[in-house]
């Protein structure tokens, strides 16, 4: 008697493909949803918003004040919607959301500059969403300085500030234009693979138990490895298709570069798929129904999105949250993909990420195998 029958394994594999093809909705979900998600999120998410609605309370209609306003307007960050009169009107606009910024130019602004009184421009920002106003606020100082400097010619030259004794040069590497898509799109691959691989594997296995077909199956001489490999391999293929579609779309639609080693990407991506399938398998041993498998998968999705560094900077989280994040396989794959695609990483650069994923994967597989023996009985 052989330990592994290719014929039986092939039969399970074939059956799984036929079932996958007949279950149109799931099939559409596996192939269609990644594309839709990539399109929607790739184009929609922007952490560097421009054209934020801005109102002006202009108490000094001088040329310098107007120069400040037009400088802000041409910077793209601020879109001037009009004027307000009096502080109450400005507050109201911030509160009801009709403006993100209210710029208050004080009375006698230009005259006070000439007198060397260092008058203050007040920019009231709606910081209830720090990400939305953050980059505009950061850019504000430079914009105003430049606008004023250009207007301090002629009689005003004497109050123009001299050149600073040193300068800071910032070199934005790997994503010089600061395009959000360049950051989001590689991350999306990690999220989409985690979502589909974990959920679909868990559901596919639990479905067989829930419908009662697993009992008839294990009453035949089929071996557990033949069943498991036969059931899981089709979803590896799905993972490959998803990744291929994704890479093509990333290149053609979002112009995301692929600078690094293909081998490094391939190694990391295969390992990541295996880890996710093992996780789905583990879930299937913990739950009884397809509904529970779905719920369990959904519980995992939020931490994967929020703590992996996909949505928010990993370094910004407190230590305990980083610890949780480190235990999530997506965290490491996310870093790996960004390193390879954007930073041109080679195998040696991602060795740490591979090790981390392998370690997490081993723990998951170990628990899953221990659980599996019990559930057969």
């Amino acid at each position: 008697m052989s330990l592994f029958s290719l014929s039986r394994f092939g039969a399970v594999l074939f059956k799984e493909f036929v079932q996958m093809r007949r279950d149109r909705l799931t099939f559409a979900m596996m192939i269609g949803i990644p594309i839709v998600q990539l399109l929607i999120f790739g184009f929609a998410i922007n952490t560097d918003p421009r054209n934020l609605p801005t109102l002006v309370e202009l108490n000094d209609p001088s040329p310098v004040a107007r120069a400040v306003i037009s400088g802000m307007d041409t910077s793209d960050y601020f879109a001037f919607q009009g004027f307000v009169f009096g502080p109450e009107a400005g507050d109201r606009a911030l509160r009801d959301g009709s403006a993100n910024f209210v710029v208050v130019i004080p009375a006698d602004f230009e005259r006070d500059i000439l007198r060397g009184l260092a008058p203050e421009i007040l920019v009231a920002a709606d910081a209830s969403d720090p990400t939305a106003v953050g980059s505009a606020v950061a850019a504000l100082g430079g914009i105003v300085d430049r606008a004023i400097a250009q207007n301090l010619g002629g009689p005003l030259t004497k109050v123009a500030p001299g050149a600073p004794p040193f300068s800071v040069v910032v070199h934005k590497q790997f994503n010089p234009e600061g395009k959000t898509a360049t950051n989001i799109v590689p991350g999306l691959l990690a999220i989409i693979l985690a979502m589909t691989m974990v959920m679909i594997t868990a559901v596919a296995i639990v479905r067989e138990i829930e419908r009662g077909t697993m009992e008839a199956l294990i009453a035949t001489p089929v071996r557990p490895t033949e069943v498991m490999l036969g059931k899981i391999l089709p979803y590896v293929v799905v993972g490959y298709i998803q990744t291929l579609v994704f890479l093509v779309a990333a290149k053609l639609l979002f112009d995301v570069p692929f600078n690094g080693s293909r081998l490094a990407f391939f190694a990391g991506f295969n390992l990541y798929i295996v880890v996710n399938l093992a996780l789905g398998f583990l879930i299937s041993t913990l739950v009884r129904t397809q509904m529970q498998a779905m719920q369990a998968s959904f519980f995992l999705i939020l931490p994967i999105i929020l703590l992996s560094g996909f949505m928010f900077p990993f370094a910004g989280m407190p230590g305990w949250a980083q610890t949780i994040g480190t235990a999530i396989p997506a965290t490491h794959f996310l870093r790996l993909v960004r390193k390879v695609m954007l930073k041109g990483a080679e195998i040696a650069d991602i060795a740490g990420d591979l090790r981390a994923m392998a370690l997490i994967g081993s723990v998951i597989v170990l628990i899953a195998l221990l659980r599996y023996r019990q559930t057969l009985d």
């Binding site: 039969a11 036929v18 009453a219 035949t220 001489p221």
Partner: protein, 314 residues
Amino acid sequence: MTGPAISVKGLTKAFGGTVVVDAIDMDVPTGAIYGFLGPNGSGKTTTIRMMCGLLTPDGGEGRTLGHDIRTEARKIKENVGYMTQKFSLYADLTIRENLDFMARMYRLPKRRQVVDATLRELGLEGRGNQLAGTLSGGWKQRLALAAAMQHKPRLLLLDEPTAGVDPKARRDFWDEIRRLSKQGVTVLVSTHYMDEAVQCDYIAYIAYGKKLIDGPAREIPARVGLTTWRVDGADLIELEDALLADPRVEQVARFGAQLHVSSTDADGLDAVVAEWKGRNGSHHWVKKEAELEEAFIYLMATAADNFGLDGRAR
């Protein structure tokens, strides 16, 4: 003939501290149709699963087709056809794909011919490409039986195969079981239909994990030891109530326009009948031999009492 097809001793299984199967001994003679009876949740399915190596017993031992149920599950599986309680084929595969899949699980040679032959025998030749899920309940059961028989097992384990199937389909199904039995296949079938039990050569009755009785079907009534009188006439409903109130009467069962009045206390029951004959001449009393029907009703009632006494759930 060789030894028994199945022989188990002291088979015990507990789930989470609840003993589901409690020290069951059973011998299924080769070639017999063996009826496995008992109320829902009595441990029939668990016992069958242990017999074919799907579950490891917590205690006891046994052999199925000469193979140890603990260590040789694989050999048992290759020679046993097992049909589960639920429809266990793939509803989203076609009839042909299901049969082909099962044939591949047993690595049958000349698979195509085997599957074609099965379809022909089922009378489903033209419908091989129909999805199995679209079949009626009776057809599903026949298909599942055919799938379990494709590798020509010597032993067939059927776990409540006719639950929820209409009477005509049930009759057809039993014709098929008898046909297989004639070919020398041993059949162990669990059921709670009495009209199916009477078709078996041997019977075991279990309740709450314990075997109450087993043996050749024709010996069961005598072993239960019931004395039965048949009575017909007017006002049977009132008579039934009156008889049940009498402590010497243990059981009154209605069969059409007759009552079957039974008790293990033969003298007591005869005395009751004599009193009624003297009191009311409109009833017609005949003493009859106790049959399986009465025996099973009696066993079930006893089991229900057990349930009430020790108050176990399930």
